[in-house]
């Protein structure tokens, strides 16, 4: 198999919380064409992992390999290494306001290609294609502060899609979206993954996991506590409960109090 990311014993701690690292000895492999869900509560380390995979943060100990080469700061200083890497791996941030820093939607989508020094004609072509695919051509001249949440997310996706990356990393892609925008994003991800791209999604939204992933990890306090198929993971209520991905649910059944994990993924329960 073609291994895209290979992490071995990765540790990463933020300056102010050095005693409890955000990632504490993470080892994992991600293969080409895989659709991986990284599940975990807030602060479990999943966003940090994505930043490591994108070469934005660097492991303080352990090794990270991408496409068979070591991924570290020294390598990324080198333009010959950095630009192809940036072209192959794309990141959709959780907060679209962070990602949309250009004056207009068109400029936003053109930013990546411009930094990769494509020629102007190609850039215009690719940008227009990406805008069409995400159905946001009519927003071309719009400023980011005049977009709705769902529109912002689509622009953010278009802005990474335009460079036709091999791997797409998404941090909570459905968070803070209305149901319609959520399903739109999920549909897009499913369709896109079917073209053989590698997708890594960090999420605590259990509903979407079976749709968008065929491999799932559960993170807790910087450790991997489970690695299985999404179906098996979602069936393991004890584990999900301990990872704070679900919360205990007390209620009355025929006059008797009981508790069970609160979960709604394919587990309708009747009262």
């Amino acid at each position: 198999m073609d291994t895209i990311f290979h992490l071995h014993n990765v540790v990463y701690a933020y300056a102010n919380t050095a005693d409890s690292p955000a990632l504490n000895g993470i080892s994992m492999q991600i293969q080409r064409g895989q659709r991986v869900a990284i599940m975990g509560a807030n602060g479990s380390g999943k966003s940090t992992l994505l930043r490591i995979l994108d070469g934005l943060y660097f492991a303080q100990s352990g090794t990270v390999e991408a496409f068979g080469h070591t991924l570290d700061e020294a390598h990324l200083m080198d333009e010959e290494y950095a630009l192809p890497f940036r072209k192959r791996v794309a990141f959709v941030f959780q907060n679209p306001d962070v990602q949309l820093f250009n004056p207009t939607v068109f400029d936003e989508v053109a930013f990546g290609p411009l930094q990769l020094r494509w020629d102007t004609a190609t850039i215009r072509q690719k940008v227009n294609d990406a805008l069409d695919i995400l159905e946001i051509s009519h927003l071309k001249e719009r400023a980011p502060h005049r977009l709705s949440g769902g529109e912002k997310k689509r622009v953010a996706i278009a802005s990474v899609l335009v460079i036709d990356p091999e791997v797409i990393l998404l941090d909570e892609p459905t968070a803070a979206l209305d149901p319609k925008s959520q399903s739109r994003v999920v549909d897009f991800l499913v369709g896109w993954a079917n073209t053989g791209k590698t997708v890594v999604v960090a999420t605590h939204d259990l509903d979407t996991v079976p749709d968008i992933a065929d491999d799932a990890y559960v993170f807790k306090q910087g450790h991997i506590i489970a690695h299985d198929t999404p179906r098996a993971i979602l069936a393991n209520h004890e584990m999900l409960l301990s990872a704070n991905l679900v919360h205990a649910h007390y209620h009355l059944h025929d006059g008797q109090t009981h508790s069970h994990a609160h979960i709604h993924v394919g587990h309708q329960h009747d009262h």
């Binding site: 950095a82 940036r86 990141f91 004056p103 930094q115």
Partner: protein, 281 residues
Amino acid sequence: MGGEAHHGKRRGNFIQRTIDALTETLERSLYAEQFSEQRGLLQQLDPRVKFVSMLGLIITAAAARHVWVVAAVALCALFFAFISRIPIIKSFGPIWLGMFIFSGLIAFPAIFITPGPTLATVPWLQWNVSAYGLQSAVFLLLRSEVSITLSFLLIMTTPWMHVLKSMRVIGIPTLVVVILGMTYRYIFLMLQSASDMFEARQSRMIGKLPDKEARRLAAATVGVLLSKSFQLGNDVFLAMQSRGYRGEVYTLDEFALRRSDYVAIPFMLLIVCTGLWFGLQ
């Protein structure tokens, strides 16, 4: 910088006033933007031509040593607004009024205290209207009005990112233009978070907030925004890096002069040169 005399009704509710100021800023930019899509004369021109022309006219008005030259530039601005289908009174009325009050405040005493031949005397008060004083007051007001009208004319007929990009023609470096653009973009994000913070406070507020509390709240809001700024700046940096940013920013140059521009350039040049010629006499 500055402070203002303050009064009865609105006193105390500084949150409301600040929210008003923030939303007014948002609305003003929205209002200005809607005209840039209309089909008027200035809208047809290349942003660079417009930018340099307006700047030229502002300088002409600023340099003129005769009131009538400033007035002529003002008429010129009104003419441009008219043929650019901008509702003059509705768009400029409030701006002119605000300017008139502020500049008038500065200019008014000059009418009486500047030495010069007496034109008239105000009955009862026995104040002498000085010719030079009147002239300098008119100068002050007119120049302010012209300058603000021309700059609003530019931003009302040009999408703001085009204004930004056209600044490169006067030698402003790309990096500065990029920073200005990003600043403008994040102003709106911060306006939103500031007014959200104030509104949240407002909804929990019963009665009037004591001044001391209000100051503390304002300082805390600024503090939160400052902390957020660091976070935001670093996150934006990561997002830029992720898409290949390595310290240089490459941008598209998308302007091309059209036939209307080739007509406009000599025309504008003529107006500015004539204005400067008469103005500096």
